[in-house]
Symmetry: C2
Subunit: 316 residues, 2 copies
């Protein structure tokens, strides 16, 4: 199979490519390297297993160049990774999320590509959902502009299934963390401690409580579900069994970095920023029913991630 991975030089994309290459797939990457890093996939590029198209999925011509390479299946992961950005700049998620997803789907239609896996997010559920949240929760009322763009992407994917006969797998991710992370709370905490090991500022009161999934589990889950669910449109939450508080993450990062003298300071309020969801946990019953389970729960994934990112970022 020849796969096109959007955002393939990024955090989740590069881990997915490790698995695709390992199982013998050919891989084409499109990435604008805004947050992706070529080094993440350099070994596969050197081995000739990955074909890199440096381009922007906001540009239909760039998408067309990648899609013309005899693609069997698209893994559409690229997006603006910074949820908070939407509170200041309102068209980033629209353009890099919604319109870019349209570009992907339209190019698939024009090139006769029939399968797509789409990375959506738990944030589409909004803040009033029951916890753990099942896939059939409704109505989905996202409170962040990032969430709105993921919901819009889901609708575009489902309309291309209904109108043009695509087959699709939509995955609503928990917080995905792990090695090569380029953003997120653990990444931020380590950078803060690198700047000033005497204090660690935490946005909000630290009681935000969310579910974390290790990125290796995430990409294994994607491939397992795709091999075991074959409806025209397949919708799956991907997450772990439990949650961790931001307060606990701060403690774990302090422990792993051995910045034992750091004062943990909270900015206060029950959310980190406007559009942050204080509590999130996905129901993973449907995922488990495919026979897939995670290898790490939230706290193990956090400790593992902090260890990996500490080595990558360093404190000096």
């Amino acid at each position: 199979m020849r796969a096109l991975v959007t955002g393939g030089a990024g955090f989740i994309g590069s881990h997915l490519i490790d698995r695709l290459v390992a199982r013998g797939d050919d891989v084409v990457v499109i990435d604008n390297l805004s947050s992706g890093v070529v080094a993440f996939i350099q070994s596969h590029l050197d081995a000739g297993r990955v074909d890199m198209v440096e381009g922007d999925i906001c540009n239909p011509d760039d998408v067309g160049r990648a899609m013309a390479k005899d693609i069997d299946c698209v893994f559409h992961l690229a997006a603006n990774p910074d949820i908070r950005l939407g509170t200041r700049i309102t068209d980033t998620d629209l353009n890099q999320g919604t319109v870019a997803t349209y570009n992907i789907l339209e190019s698939m239609r024009l090139n006769g590509v029939k399968k797509i896996a789409f990375a959506s997010s738990s944030v589409v559920y909004g803040e009033d959902a029951p916890l753990p949240t099942p896939e059939d929760h409704g109505p989905c009322m996202p409170i962040s502009l990032y969430g709105a763009s993921k919901q819009a992407g889901e609708g575009l994917v489902s309309s291309w299934v209904g109108t043009f006969g695509l087959q699709a797998w939509i995955f609503r991710f928990a917080n995905i963390i792990g090695a090569r992370g380029t953003h997120g709370v653990i990444y931020d905490f380590i950078h803060k401690l690198k700047n000033d090991p005497s204090r660690l500022e935490v946005l909000g009161n630290g009681l935000q409580e969310k579910s974390y999934m290790e990125v290796g589990d995430c990409v294994d889950g994607i491939l397992h579900v795709m091999a075991n669910a074959d409806a025209p449109l397949n919708l799956y939450n991907l997450g772990s069994h439990d949650t961790a508080s931001v307060r606990r993450i701060a403690e774990l990062v302090v422990e792993v970095t051995q910045c034992h003298d750091a004062r943990i300071e909270y900015t206060g309020g029950d959310r980190g920023w406007a559009g942050d969801i204080p509590r999130a946990r996905l129901s993973i019953q449907k995922m488990l029913q495919t026979g897939f389970d995670v290898s790490m729960n939230s706290e193990d994934a956090i400790r593992h991630t902090a260890t990996c990112l500490l080595e990558e970022i360093g404190l000096e």
Copy 2:
């Protein structure tokens, strides 16, 4: 109150303006007159009760001109009215639906306008929803590009509520029909009989079964719900109590037009076009609980509409 009505010269918009003017509101209209008709609101323009901005909501500058007029509440009704178009031209709903809705919301943010009513649609539910479909059905997986754009619009609205403190009312409409209709099945049937009174072609097998709501009931419902639901985000289906088949609509149009010799011919298949939903009926319990009920059910609304449109279109 000063209201901005997008698509105010259109079918539903012009009826809404009749009500707003009658209750004493000031009204600003933005309409590009692609399907809207100035004559629909000419009497209010002549009376100085309505301020018309001829402009396109796809253009942020046009939206800004209208939004700067000291607006208290936006009624965002403008959209591509032709659901079938998405099967041939794939960016119409994206631009005239999703991106245009972004333009409206962003202009509201920039101008400090805090209230919006958004016209969504039953088609966001997709084709696998239980009937009648309640507002909390999930997952919503639209099968038309129009449906995808309405879902995207809902998500944008809810994210502006969650991030920027807007108050919103989202209405998921049944098939809205009535005088001044500019599209839809009854409009199409009358035009077909005008072209050839000896035959009436029906897309699909005629067994498509949907709920119809008269436009006067629709706009009364909007205003009633807004006066009686005051959450930050309010989501309501608007529809009638029952359904009618396309076959029955064809018979009623033949009866009203007195084209009794017309052969009704079916193109076959269980849907009219790719992305058409064969069966749709909204749960209206939540609407009824506000104390509002419709004055017409589907068949009465169809007969009334056929009578009005026959007079407007004529058969000669």
